[in-house]
């Protein structure tokens, strides 16, 4: 029963500090949105260019796979000596990490298109650009989208760590709650973020399913 009471206290804390909560939530969402949009804008075209050049593609893939084993906290922490404290520094760190799954999935998605299909399209007189736009990209879309979904979930989680380098977000409450043994504050910071991640993942899974994805990843995401 005391567990339940703790939860209720957490709710009370949230309501009592609702304005601050909204500020933190907005910071959190902006961190995610900005880094995510930047990552998509860079990763998808980069992936498209990369599949054209075998050397570039294989080096991007191997660097990407290795880089994804680096802990998210490490990436956040490294941003600090390079870019200093603050929101911008956090966004850059999140952006770099968000880039990887989108990039590798874009390449994988474009690569999986059957050679014969491409040959047939070229045989019908399509240019390389038309093949890319009309055949490869549409067929790769579900895989690219799966990469974006993975990336978003990681970023929501990693944004919690942004506070350590002065980036704000819901991590503020969780971390100060842990420091001060303020349980209601921890819960008020942790539960909304968990719900945000689960909701975004479910929504993305639904969309992914709608556009013909398989709804699961080859590799599990490294949680932030």
């Amino acid at each position: 029963m005391s567990e339940l009471y703790t939860l209720v206290e957490g709710g009370q804390y949230l309501i009592e500090n609702f304005d601050e909560f909204l500020t933190l939530l907005r910071e959190h969402i902006i961190l995610v949105l900005v880094s995510e949009l930047a990552a998509i804008t860079v990763a998808v075209p980069l992936g498209v260019i990369a599949v054209r050049y075998n050397r570039l593609k294989s080096s991007i893939l191997s660097v990407g796979n290795v880089a994804q084993t680096i802990p998210t906290l490490a990436v956040i922490a490294l941003a600090f000596p390079i870019f200093g404290l603050g929101f911008n520094s956090a966004v850059i760190a999140l952006f770099v990490y968000a880039l990887l799954p989108i990039l590798t999935n874009t390449i994988a998605g474009l690569e999986q298109v059957d050679e014969n299909t491409i040959e047939a399209a070229e045989g019908m007189g399509m240019t390389k650009w038309e093949v890319l736009r009309k055949i490869q990209l549409p067929m790769a879309l579900p895989v690219i989208f799966a990469g974006i979904r993975t990336s978003v979930v990681i970023t929501v989680g990693t944004a919690y760590l942004a506070f350590f380098i002065g980036g704000g977000g819901l991590g503020v409450w969780v971390i100060s709650g842990i420091n001060l043994f303020n349980t209601p504050q921890i819960l008020a910071g942790a539960i909304p973020g968990a719900l945000l991640a689960i909701t975004l993942d479910s929504v993305f899974a639904f969309i992914e399913h709608q556009i013909g994805g398989e709804g699961h990843h080859d590799q599990s995401i490294a949680t932030g």
Binding site: T6, T69, A74, A77, F80, Y160, G189, I198, A222, G224
Partner: protein, 228 residues
Amino acid sequence: MIGSYIEFTLDNWQDLLQLLIEHIELVVQTLIIALPLGISLGIFIAYYQPASLSVLWGAGVAMTIPSLALFGLLVPFLGIGNPPVIVALVLYAQLPIIRNTYIGLTGVEKDMIEAGEGVGMTRWQRLRQIQIPVALPVITAGVRNATVILIGVATVGAYVGAGGLGDYIFTGIYQANTEMIVVATVVVSLLALVFDYGLKIIEQFLQLQNGEDVALTRGTKAITKVIT
């Protein structure tokens, strides 16, 4: 520049080693619980298909919860230190382990199962002699995936008192000690890469034993050469 990092490493190698051992211990303790749990659940849903969707969904949801939030959620109930971190890590490890066990066991070609039945293997013998050997490389891939995740998430666990290399990262941020951050980050990333590579070799070794066509990594090639 590089010199200062080397100097830092040499000055603090005993502490670093201590934290590295703590980190590995944390991951190993988690795996000791997570492996039997995940593999049993994987076997269970392989044989009881109606449960597969919900179990995989649940494990998938657990995986999306931000680690700091999950530690935060568990601390009020389990206190500070290893317990909340291990519970969270066990949860995070479930999706790759359950899913790969399930895919490995159900992915065995149907005609092989039928041939096994045809030559008079019991259900248990089919599991032991056909399904498990075929699934083993796939399960190993899941464990590899899980281990890399655990090594990363365990760094955050330092904030709630679980120790490990995360300690140096947090202290480094707190003291604005670049050497400390960079060295700890490099060590933790290397740890993840070493486990990833080591488990990859085991995975490929199992694939080879099953006569699968695999593009071998250098490590696997070297080891098979030593063995044979």
